[in-house]
Subunit: 260 residues, 2 copies
DNA sequence: CGCAACGTTGAAGCAGGTCAAAGGTTGTGG
DNA sequence: CCACAACCTTTGACCTGCTTCAACGTTGCG
């Protein structure tokens, strides 16, 4: 029984666009709209996974705390995304905490509605699996980066990803669409707020970003993308195509000295 | 049309045990057995995801290479596990390479068989989703460890996990059930083979493990588990219950000096 | 027997974590 | 409307866990 406002929002989501009116009706059975103020929690890690959700508007932060009390940010939820799928995956409890970083609006189904929900349109179940697949790939991507890349590259890539997913153009660049702190970025990249602050200061000086309290604006995506590439060649780099500029890599390979 | 041998193996797997004979018949439609010698590849990263699989016997290594050429190990596949589910997740290509670390036997279905496969028993689809959920949690666990833990803890936990999943008891401890190198462990934990070698040497001296070429035996799971805990308290640890032994944390809190 | 793959160990250097302290910005309550 | 508190950010100095580099020992296979 969502309001007409919700209906309009729903129709705009890729998730529901392919459904007929009748199918949408079925899919929405049992769904309740749910407003979250900035800072409010949708659910907390460890709570029974009694609902699954779709975010209609706003931004949510998904985080986990380790047994030692450290926190990491799993991802941000964008409008149109499903979340809280614990029940769909046969898990009894939510594995993470979800908090609104802005005033947000979502739709909540009771866990028991999952089967009828996926049955209402053959594609919905497949989309859920696809979503899981995507998240899994993202997670592995992140593991790769944590394993092999340096902090600067990780932070650069994370910022680019945020911009791509939720960025909004402003007068002097693309803004991350929601408030975010240095600490948040540190928790996304496995580093400390100090290191993030130092990096952003450096980038600000170089004109790559502008930033303030809880706000980051990307001014030069190209420059940031360049930072993501593998670190510059330490010495010669004959094997590396992208480093060749036409001249031989090592002067000593030219037999000039030999002719003396 | 798998052989009778396969049938016996299949009946032993948790995955297929709940199925009736008729359901098993349906589920197996289109499946072909497939033997892999040690070192042989089931498929390579980037290839079209034309099949999905179940491992019947042996052990497989799932790995990814980064654009820079670094390799990471995603996981090991144990008997009874499904793998190569790219097609189920709506992905056209395999995101990783799968290689047999021992002579192995698996069952392969063409991608098109996924729908009838899941339809043959209502639980099979749910199990696939659950499997994805598990993998996702494992991945996040690993991200947490890479973000917060030191190398020694990561290696210790990884070894415990290997032992739990595939370990086989031997005369002087539990053996990782398949050949594995220092480099492999390094690629699972985001470190270098040098550091892993140093750690294993240290543990060997302390009697926690025994190890040789491509072989690791865990002699004291308890000692290894102790290494996984958070690092020992640097100074006083009044707030930490597990560190208290009944005596006050700080001598200076006792007003002895004051009575002088 | 010799080569290739795997393992061990030392020494040196640095990326980035930790510790410490001060400066900005936002909101709130008197 | 101002002052204070809470929170966020910046910056410096130091220190260490790990990587890197280099060299050598060991195992097993063709």
């Amino acid at each position: 029984m969502p309001s007409p406002l919700c209906h309009a929002l729903l129709r705009n989501l890729d998730l529901f666009r392919p459904l007929s009116d009748a199918q949408l009706e079925t899919a929405l059975h049992g769904a309740a709209p749910c407003r979250l103020e900035a800072g409010a929690l949708a659910y907390v890690q460890g709570a029974p996974g009694a609902h699954f959700f779709v975010l209609l508007q706003g931004f949510l932060k998904v985080s986990q705390v380790t047994p030692e009390g450290e926190q990491i940010i799993v991802r941000y939820v964008n409008p149109g995304d499903m979340f809280g799928l614990a029940c769909a995956m046969g898990q009894t409890c939510y594995p993470a905490t979800v908090q609104a970083v802005q005033e947000s609006l979502c739709l909540a189904w009771p866990a028991a509605a999952w089967t009828p929900f996926t049955a209402s349109h053959p594609q919905l179940g497949a989309i859920a699996l696809q979503t899981m697949g995507h998240r899994l790939q993202d997670a592995h991507q992140r593991i790769q980066e944590l394993s092999n890349d340096e902090v600067e590259q990780r932070v650069a890539r994370t910022l680019l990803r945020l911009i791509n997913q939720s960025g909004r153009p402003t007068h002097d660049g693309i803004d991350v669409g929601f408030p975010i702190t240095r600490q948040d970025i540190a928790e996304m990249t496995g580093t400390t707020l100090h290191t993030v602050s130092r990096l952003l200061s450096d980038w600000k000086q170089r004109g790559i970003v502008a930033s303030g309290r809880k706000r980051i604006v990307l001014r030069s995506p190209a420059a940031l993308a360049r930072l993501c590439e593998h670190t510059p060649p330490p010495m010669d780099c004959a094997a590396c195509l992208s480093c060749r500029d036409g001249s031989p890599a090592m002067e000593t390979s030219i037999p000039v000295l030999a002719t003396h």
